[in-house]
């Protein structure tokens, strides 16, 4: 290795130094990014006295007791897990169906009306949730959907539509239109053409919105705290309140909880990673 580098000429040398310094910088940034994860993980495998005595060092006797305690003693944990899954999956699928349909039209037609519709959809990103919180609650209450999965799914879908459309519309513009035209010649109507031709082509961006929407819905606290009142309807973020409150004194449990709540989305992200990057790429660049 050393010998090789002596044989390099000046510009190759420069390039190598640049490359190494880049890697060093990246690794430093990566370590900084990982610090909060280190803290959470470290706290979650320590017992109470070890946290008090030595917060930062790795534990002498790592324990999984905290995880067991959270599962067995926080009665909201398993219910919350179940509800989070039951709420997130339909919301994300529903969003995928309706926003890919809407985005398809918004991307394909450029008449003033469609531009306006696009802006109307996107405007949702700008409305602070606190501004619609009370009317939304009252409306959902009047339909009898408070503390139900359905009520939460509808509300969360509506609140997520804007970002989804922003991401997806950009992507659809990159899907070649000749293919649908060919399909329509084959005697497909437009709905059939959409489901048969365009929807499959949207796989990368749908993977992206699947991951992004799952993140948003799974982590949602503000909507859930308003709409899910009964203990049996509450989602995972609401079960955190026991550990993250004005009087937190069970850091180890708090972080054990925190870690377990993150596992499904981390798995989802890792398994979809490849699609996510390509999906976002297409969406952003053409958007």
């Amino acid at each position: 290795m050393k010998n090789d580098s002596f044989n390099l000429n000046n510009s190759e040398m420069k390039e190598l130094i640049l490359k190494i310094s880049k890697i060093v910088v990246v690794i430093i940034i990566m370590l900084v990014v990982l610090i909060p994860f280190y803290i959470s993980f470290n706290y979650s495998i320590k017992d109470h006295t070890e946290i008090t005595n030595n917060r930062l060092a790795l534990p002498e006797n790592p324990t999984i007791q905290n995880f067991i305690t959270v599962i067995s003693e926080n009665e909201q944990f398993l219910i919350g897990y179940k509800n989070s899954i039951l709420n997130t999956i339909p919301t994300v699928l529903l969003l995928m169906v309706i926003t890919s349909m809407a985005s398809y039209v918004l991307a394909r037609y450029s008449a003033k009306f469609y531009q306006l519709m696009y802006l109307v959809f996107i405007a949702g990103i700008l409305i602070p949730f606190q501004c619609i919180m009370l009317p939304l609650y009252l409306n959902i209450y009047n339909t009898g959907l408070i503390s139900t999965n359905l009520g939460f799914i509808i509300a969360r879908t509506g609140l997520q539509i804007s970002i989804s459309i922003l991401v997806v519309t950009g992507f659809v513009k990159s899907v070649p239109r000749d293919m649908e035209e060919a399909a329509s010649i084959d005697g497909c109507n437009r709905f059939q053409a959409f489901w048969k031709i365009v929807f499959p082509l949207m796989k990368p961006v749908n993977a992206t919105q699947l991951v992004l929407n799952t993140l948003f819905v799974w982590n949602d606290y503000n909507t859930a705290v308003v709409l899910l009142r009964s203990p049996e309807s509450r989602t995972l973020p609401l079960a955190q309140i026991i550990y993250f409150n004005e009087n937190t004194s069970e850091l180890n449990l708090a972080f054990a909880f925190f870690g377990m709540a993150m596992i499904p989305i981390l798995i989802l992200y890792l398994s979809m990673q490849k699609h996510v990057v390509s999906g976002i790429m297409a969406g952003a660049v053409k958007g």
Binding site: A102, Y104, P128, F129, L136, G158, F194, Q240, L270, G287
Partner: protein
């Protein structure tokens, strides 16, 4: 955000022809499910809130309210404390927006080529985005007190009026720079390599290549990132709520809204503040995306 619109064939038919009706009718059906849910969940509640902003409605559990016209709006727009919350919000947004984008762009420029090492780094950089806002804020409050304070013998920025906005912005940058990075990577990958080769042949320095090729062609990615982060920044709520609830210097506009509607029995005033916030957001984001679209056209 709307891309350059291509000329399309759909206007070759008369406006009210059967073909057009069928096409536009079909289009409406495509948009309808999303539109209905969106209108029901977002737009109707938003418009329902407007009448309340014209009253002195005190508590949301009360029916009593008197119409006061635009008084809430004039009061707020001349109120030092409300305008201060805007200042705090703008400060936060500026640091967050610049930080997340510069770091995201920097990382993207290093990591945009796919390799095993780069993929791992990208995954790590994106991981914070999977953490909830409140979770991020709370973990960071411990990073500040347990690590930064004990290593560098400094106060936690979250306990210091002059630094609390910066301290929260760091949390937000940590969480969202991975997202920015991915968007920029996407942009970089779409730039044809021939451009660079041509530039190299012409003897352009790497700085010149960045200035004249990379940045102009990244404008769509800038537009997307800056618009979204601008909106997220100006709506910031969870961070101050979780870790700086009682600091005047950390009070953001959405907190002002929340406190007045739900905590202080000034629901009418709070609703007016919410609408002012939305309008300011609308103006700013429209201005920014217009600016970028202009750049896009020029480039």
């Amino acid at each position: 955000m709307v891309a350059k619109t291509r000329k399309k064939q759909e206007h070759t038919h008369p406006v009210f022809s059967r073909y057009n009706l069928r096409i536009h009718g079909g289009n409406m059906l495509f948009m309808l499910p999303a539109l209905i849910i969106y209108i029901a969940v977002v737009l109707i509640p938003f418009f329902q809130g407007i009448p309340y902003s014209l009253t002195n409605w005190k508590s949301i559990i009360s029916d009593k309210m008197i119409f006061v016209g635009l008084k809430n709006y004039t009061t707020l727009l001349t109120n030092k404390y409300f305008l201060d919350t805007f200042l705090n919000t703008f400060k936060f947004t500026a640091i967050y927006l610049l930080g997340a984008n510069i770091l995201g762009l920097f990382l993207a420029m290093i990591l945009w080529r796919s390799s095993r090492f780069n993929n791992i780094v990208r995954t790590v950089m994106f991981m914070p985005f999977t953490v909830s806002l409140v979770g991020a804020a709370i973990v960071w409050s411990y990073v500040y007190t347990d690590i930064i304070s004990s290593l560098f013998e400094v106060m936690s920025p979250l306990g210091c009026s002059s630094q609390v906005i910066g301290g929260m912005a760091v949390i937000a940058i940590w969480r969202d720079m991975g997202y920015c990075m991915l968007i920029y990577i996407a942009g970089l990958q779409s730039i044809p390599t021939e451009y660079y080769e041509a530039a190299r042949v012409d003897g352009a320095s790497s700085f010149q290549r960045i200035k004249h090729i990379t940045l102009p062609l990244l404008i769509p990615a800038f537009t997307s990132n800056i618009t979204l982060l601008l909106a997220w920044g100006l709506k910031v709520f969870d961070y101050p709520m979780a870790v700086a609830r009682n600091m005047e210097a950390a009070k953001t506009t959405t907190m002002y809204v929340y406190d007045n509607i739900f905590g202080f029995s000034k629901a009418g005033l709070g609703q007016a503040a919410a609408i002012i916030t939305t309008v300011v957001l609308l103006i700013l984001t429209t201005a920014v995306s217009r600016m970028f679209r202009k750049l896009e056209v020029e480039a």
